[in-house]
Amino acid sequence: METKNASPILFEPKLEFMKFSLIPICLVFILVIAMAEANEPKAGFVKNVSGKAFIERNKVVTAAKVKDMLRENDILVTGNTGSMGVILQDNSVMSIGSNTRLVISKFAFEPADEKLSFIAQIKKGTVVYLTGLIAKLNHSGVRFETPAATCGIRGTHFAIKVEDPGN
């Protein structure tokens, strides 16, 4: 058997070469991604999920689960039956109803360095938010942006609905 398969052996040196060069490249690549992920500070975590609810990170969509960590630039997405509740690092709480798309476009909670801001973009859907320490410590620190308005907040509880532009 082995002697008959002479032709594949011809290709073996080439394959071997590819293996050697690809493995280190892949490893470095994975390491760089892992380091970037580790450096990205935590913005909050998922507290509850029902129905179709997802987290979109770097264009990769995964089903949201309780205790999932959230980071800056994550997008919270729900389908026509979904909802999700999250707690952010400054102890503010936010929840979204179905057919919602919300981008955590900025989140910084480092009181020692006076870095205090949370900016969310609501593309569509329903959102309820109760402010936490960022709004308390920095009066212009929390902002919700929609295609038609911007909400500046002073320590409070509110609901926003953005009609789906597709409708």
Binding site: G85, V86, V128, A149, T150, T156, H157, I160
Partner: protein, 206 residues
Amino acid sequence: MKNKSLLRVRNIFPPLVLFLLLISGCASTTQVVLLPDPDGKVGTLEVSNVKGTQTLNQAWQATVSASMDRIPSEPKLLEEEKVRQVFREALEAEPIPPVSFIVYFRTDRSVLSTESLTLLTNVMHAIMSRKSTDIIISGHTDAVGAIDYNHRLSLRRAKAVADILIARGIDRQNIQVSYHGKGNPLVPTPDGRPEPRNRRVEITVR
């Protein structure tokens, strides 16, 4: 030839973007409603776009912004029931806000008083009602004593609290313990001054 076509693309681009912005702005009508805080208080909310600002300061008051080029509508009081209907899913998914507790200690001690043990019963209720998997316990001391000694004392205090919660059935993996010695006082004092309010463990249930 190539330059000409490039120019044309450039000329078309800004009006096209503006047009697209206008349509998306028109379709994405934004409604904002001020809700009462969980403790019943009502805050203030500013809703603005390029044309102007509306301020909401009553519970169930709302404003609508149809697009960036029209000022948001005058605040209008909505019926609570209607608001609850529109935002039902989001309101049902709204987590209970995190809550913090403080347990105090006598000088140089890490044993909990009877009063503190009663407070830990409230902490247990807070954990249960939130199904909390994120309990943060931080130990502190006042400014009396050496830095190293106080670090160890604050860790003993934090661990004493954590151990009681674990003994009452809380999963150790859901607890994060940190210790600060005299480094993070509730009431800042000069070094060496006793301050009962700083001899404490803070517990946050999220």
